[in-house]
């Protein structure tokens, strides 16, 4: 869990770095007359890495989108079972993604593939970082699935609901208000 959070912060700061990098490139091109000639590729890799490294944390924060209008009206016991089923299905998809990503890295190794940018970056590096994020996502799903299965076996469906249920309106509100609070702090 802590690792997933740390990975998400890395992903987030990576976007800040990305903004600075592109800004630098635009300024350098317009005013100084040079550009890195690999911005498109490098920032693309930063996006891929950012997406993959944020996946596990997003799941832990229960922020991945589900269609849960019906589920939330069901009795707690049934709802808990359905949460676990949904998680397992997500797990099946995530494992497929991780397997395909690993196969892609393997293929890039076979080709000794480089991109067409001026830096000729070996594709194994960005694709490897990306794959690592997806594998971490799979691990997070496994951990959550084990925890939920345990709660279900012990007859504590409420715990499972808290673990996997979608973010409630209160969660969303709390976050927005926290952000506004931060904005107000400086003024008073």
């Amino acid at each position: 869990m802590a690792l997933a959070t740390a990975m998400a912060y890395v992903a987030g700061w990576n976007y800040i770095a990305c903004a600075l990098f592109i800004t630098f490139d635009v300024v350098a091109r317009s005013l100084l007359g040079f550009s890195s000639a690999a911005t498109i590729e490098v920032t693309g890799y930063m996006l891929a890495g950012g997406i993959a490294w944020g996946l596990a944390h997003t799941l832990a924060r229960r922020a991945h989108i589900r269609v849960d209008v019906w589920v939330n009206r069901l009795p707690l016991r049934l709802r808990a079972v359905l949460h676990l089923v949904s998680l397992l299905l997500l797990g099946a998809f995530a494992v497929f993604c991780a397997w395909s990503a690993a196969a892609l890295v393997d293929e890039s190794l076979l080709f000794d593939a480089h991109d067409n940018s001026a830096l000729r970056i070996p594709l194994v590096i960005p694709q490897g970082i990306w794959t690592f994020g997806i594998i971490a996502f799979c691990l997070m799903i496994t951990v959550l699935a084990l925890e939920s299965a345990l709660s279900l076996l012990l007859g504590r469906p409420a715990e499972l609901d808290a673990l996997l249920g979608s973010r409630t309106l209160e969660d969303e509100t709390e976050e927005a208000l926290e952000a506004v609070q931060m904005a107000r702090e400086g003024t008073r």
Binding site: A19, G50, H64, V67, S100, E170
Partner: protein
């Protein structure tokens, strides 16, 4: 839901192919898949998993090729695409502006000028959302930012709470339509149309929609008379304009850099994010904590969209492999209906999907299928991009499911049922739909400006 729609379309295409080509149709397989997915949705399965697993099942059922051997490339392509880099950058900009309180200053400045009109502060809601939309590319960010700023002003006022919520939701739904916008970037990516041209085309339609919103509020203000606040001296009003400066400068930076030729639309998003941080620093609010919190929120929201992209691209790849879009385009193009009627059906389909679907997933899963039909019918890709964006925005404020409305409901200072938001947004929804009809009758509203400038 969308998966079900896709399967039904698939069924229609297969039946059509059978009628014309005399092949056997796997009707039962398709019906079984549809059933499985109705069940999935009932169980509240993650959208990305539904799309991805549907793709995998379609691949296993209909393709005789080892499609899985290419799946890694199918996922890697969109996740490392430079054009999509704009998405986290716009989100980052919104997070920084929200946390730095720049949006509050914007609201106060506009308020001084607009609060004596019939409808009062409600006009400020629309105007501040419209201005904020001109720097932010996301509707949810616009609604969250301006909503959190505006709602406290209405805490103990005589304003109709429903209209307050409705006007803020409607204002939020300008976020993508007024350039810049994430929807245009994704549409441009899928259809290979120029994002710059889409932005220009969206200018007049966004003025039209904003104008219709103002008319709605005027009508409300004239029928529900309220005491006007005392007039302020002109000097004070002029000084209040200073609050607009950061927003206008950011607008100049983001849109100006595109049209002055310094930056492409994706690069402009990066300039906006850095510019927002610079203004936060000028206000003395650029702390590590602010950046850290903004980074986390950006990472989370990008990952959420990224996972849906994984599912959607896998599904799209398999649908294309078994020739569904082409068959569907041929099928619809061959229907004995005039092009405008087919277009009306497509728009109606978007409206129907929009009542229960989130706009982003809607565009990424449907445009690859619908776009070839649209061009085959002879409609302009730029015009259609603006139309799709308007429909996606409408989806955000059409009950019962709309992210923008949920965000506002979550921020209400005084609790109340979500139906308040639903009722409040309805007149604005009607105005938005009127704009769509006008665009259908006079496509020039979108196409005139690019024609003049290009």
């Amino acid at each position: 839901m969308i998966a079900v729609v896709f399967l039904l379309l698939l069924l229609a295409a297969a039946v059509f192919a059978a009628v014309t080509g005399g092949q056997t149709v796997p009707v039962w397989e398709i019906l079984a898949l549809t059933g499985v997915f109705l069940l999935f949705f009932g169980a509240g399965v993650y959208i990305a998993a539904v799309l991805g697993l549907l793709g995998i099942l379609i691949g296993l059922t209909f393709s005789d090729r080892p499609w899985w051997a290419f799946a890694g490339q199918t996922l890697w392509g969109p996740s490392s695409n430079f054009v999509l880099v704009a998405v986290p950058l716009f989100l980052l900009m919104g997070e920084i502006l929200l946390r730095a309180g720049l949006s509050d200053r914007l609201y106060r400045a506009l308020n001084v000028w607009l609060n004596r009109l019939p409808g009062g502060l409600l006009h400020t809601n629309i105007a501040s959302c419209a201005l904020f939309s001109a720097i932010s590319g996301s509707s949810v960010a616009t609604a969250a930012t301006m909503g959190s700023v505006a709602l406290p002003y209405f805490r103990d006022s005589a304003y109709n709470q429903r209209m307050v919520l409705g006007s803020l939701a409607a204002g939020g739904a300008l976020g993508n339509l007024i350039p810049p916008g994430i929807t245009f970037i994704i549409y441009g990516l899928i259809t290979e149309t120029s994002v710059g041209a889409l932005y220009i085309a969206a200018l007049l339609p966004s003025i039209l929609v904003t104008g219709l919103f103002i008319l709605v509020i005027l009508a409300h203000g004239l029928t529900h008379r309220m005491d006007r606040p005392p007039p302020l001296p002109l000097g004070m009003k002029l000084r209040a304009l200073l609050g607009l400066v950061p927003t206008l400068l950011l607008m100049l930076l983001v849109l100006g850099s595109i049209y002055a030729g310094f930056a492409t639309p994706t690069e402009a998003a990066a300039l906006g994010a850095v510019g927002a941080a610079v203004f936060a620093a000028a206000e003395g609010k650029l702390t590590f904590r602010l950046l850290h919190a903004s980074a986390e929120a950006t990472a989370r929201n990008t990952a959420l969209l990224g996972l849906i992209i994984f599912g959607a691209y896998l599904l799209n790849y398999l649908l294309t492999t078994i020739n569904v879009p082409q068959a569907l385009a041929g099928f619809i193009g061959g229907m004995p209906l005039p092009p405008w009627a087919i277009m009306a059906c497509i728009l109606a389909l978007y409206l129907a999907l929009g009542t229960f679907m989130e706009g982003f997933s809607m565009i990424i899963t449907t445009v690859p299928v619908v776009f070839p039909i649209v061009t085959a019918l002879g409609y302009d890709p730029i015009w259609f991009g603006v139309m799709v964006t308007m429909l996606v925005e409408i989806a955000q404020i059409s009950p019962p499911d709309g992210t923008v409305m949920y965000v506002l409901q979550g921020m209400r200072p005084k609790p109340g049922p979500i139906t308040d938001v639903f009722v409040g947004v309805t007149p604005f929804l009607a105005a938005y739909l009127l704009a769509v009809v006008l665009m259908m009758i006079w496509p020039e509203i979108a196409l005139w400006l690019p024609g003049v400038m290009g």
